[in-house]
């Protein structure tokens, strides 16, 4: 029992941090139908900017804000590459992520430990479950913000852009603007997660972001198995994903297999959905 508690706490903590990336994937891939690979790069960039800033004495919250802005700007560039220069959506994301790798390594270094600098978690260190006290409300607040935003006029147009671009044009609204806005949101969220993760782990690695997108996609697909509001289930999906990874670690599976396991998890969810879909079809025709 005593050894289980820190494991559960760790799962929840990483789940809450990952939930921001799951929300980012949901925004880009599901709402805008824009599979944005730059989400992977902005997780690293957010981490690099935060690592550099806190090591150079910036306030950790201000550092996080800088990371989020950097992420948002990267989303803007992905959006501009697609909407203004006509680059394919997937390639736009890959180009930006590749460029961000150089940027991240030059800003944050290849491997950097934060040492004993002040982080956003410092103020919560004296509480038991201090990290969760910060992460859980933060994650829910961001989720609630997007639940609210999607019901606003601007949110309605953004959602409509992903479903029917011609309709949005007919409304006299700019489709490129809403695509870019969505990518700015998504990449800000990913950078936010990257920035928090660096402060949580006390370490920045230029390769730390590899596999973030696929992990978030797995979280997103788990979340979609529940039929509640996606910005809320994103948190649950992310936690369940972390739980699955934790189980594989407990089963003594080498961490080097994690990416393969994540990929297989995605395949498994797709197979389950396909079987469910076929069952429903049979019932409908019966």
């Amino acid at each position: 029992m005593f050894s289980l508690l820190p494991i559960v706490t760790g799962i929840l903590e990483r789940g809450f941090i990952g939930s921001f990336v799951v929300m980012a994937v949901y925004l880009a891939s599901r709402i805008m139908k824009f599979d944005d690979f730059s989400i992977e790069g902005t997780f690293g960039l957010g981490g690099a900017v935060v690592a550099y800033s806190v090591i150079h004495g910036q306030n950790p919250w201000f550092a996080l804000l800088l990371g989020v802005i950097a992420g948002g700007l990267s989303g803007l560039i992905t959006g501009l590459l697609h909407t203004k220069l006509g680059l394919n959506r997937l390639i736009s994301g890959i180009v930006v992520t590749t460029m961000l790798f150089s940027l991240s390594i030059n800003i944050g270094g290849s491997n950097v430990a934060l040492g004993s600098v002040e982080t956003i978690f410092s103020a919560f260190n004296s509480y038991s479950y201090g990290n969760l006290l910060l992460l859980a409300p933060f994650s829910f607040l961001v989720g609630i913000f997007y639940v609210w935003y999607m019901k606003t006029e601007s949110g309605f147009v953004l959602r409509s852009t992903g479903i029917n671009e011609q309709f949005v044009t007919s409304l006299g609204k700019s489709v490129p603007f809403y695509i870019i806005l969505c990518l700015v949101f998504a990449n800000s969220l990913s950078a936010l997660a990257g920035g928090i993760f660096v402060q949580y782990s006390g370490f920045f690695s230029a390769f730390g972001n590899v596999g973030t997108l696929i992990a978030a996609l797995a979280g997103c697909m788990i979340a979609e198995l529940f039929s509640w509001n996606m910005f809320m289930t994103a948190i649950l999906g992310s936690i369940i994903y972390q739980l699955i990874i934790a189980i594989t670690i407990e089963l003594q599976v080498e961490p080097s297999w994690q990416k393969l396991i994540t990929g297989l998890l995605i395949v498994a969810i797709l197979v389950v959905k396909k079987i469910e879909g076929a069952k429903k079809k049979v019932l409908k025709h019966a």
Partner: protein, 225 residues
């Protein structure tokens, strides 16, 4: 109201429109007729700003709007496509779609979108139709039949009082009964309005009662007016 002067549209060697010159005035109902490839949809593309002409000018009253984008022209030109899927957002409810439409020409801000739902549409436009569409307000519009969806789309397209309504084969995806309903609806709905309506159709006889003018297009030219 809208004037097209010497419009050419070239697709490489092929001329989709050749020296088209025409005027569209208030309250007119124009049937646009012709074979496939005659240039009917291209003329709609040029009017709506979806495609810019290779040559010629378009004027709204006396203002040159030839280079005005489709997004900006949407404020005075509304277009209903032949596919019932294009005119609305399938996953949103009928009420949400109607609420969205009221944002045309206004800034999309941070107010709750559904609060813009135009109540008068139910009382003044939907109930008189007798089709019980008013009971479907909270149904996702994608669950409606093609005919119901097309009627809602036409209503949505005209809420902003456009100068010109373009109906691009609005009955193409509908069965005969729904087609008759829709044409009757279009007739009743457009006759007392100030806007001009242009409708592409392949069935001249069926839609003849609607119009007061016809354009026959042949190989990119308007041959009779």
């Amino acid at each position: 109201m809208l004037r097209l002067e010497n419009i050419d549209v070239d697709f490489g060697e092929f001329k989709a429109l050749k020296n088209v010159h025409c005027e569209i005035n208030k309250k007119e109902f124009i049937l646009v007729l012709g074979h496939n490839g005659a240039g009917k949809s291209t003329i709609f593309d040029v009017i709506s700003g979806r495609r810019f002409p290779s040559k010629g000018k378009i004027y709204r009253d006396s203002v040159d709007i030839t280079n005005l984008s489709e997004t900006k022209r949407a404020l005075f030109v509304s277009r209903v496509f032949q596919s019932t899927y294009v005119g609305s957002v399938s996953t949103l409810t009928v009420a949400e779609n109607l609420a969205l439409t009221t944002l045309k020409g206004k800034k999309a801000g941070f107010k709750s979108a559904i609060k813009n739902f135009p109540e008068y549409v139910v009382e003044e436009l939907l109930k008189p139709l007798g089709l019980r569409l008013e009971n479907l307000m909270n149904t996702p519009i994608g669950n409606l039949s093609g005919g119901q969806r097309q009627i809602i789309t036409i209503i949505m397209s005209t809420l902003c009082h456009p100068d010109v309504l373009l109906l691009d084969e609005p009955t193409a995806a509908l069965d005969p009964a729904s087609t008759e309903n829709l044409l009757q609806f279009v007739h009743n709905y457009t006759k007392d309005r100030d806007m001009a309506t242009l409708m592409i159709t392949h069935d001249e006889k069926e839609a003849e009662f609607l119009c007061n003018k016809k354009w026959y297009l042949d190989k990119g030219e308007i041959v009779t007016r």
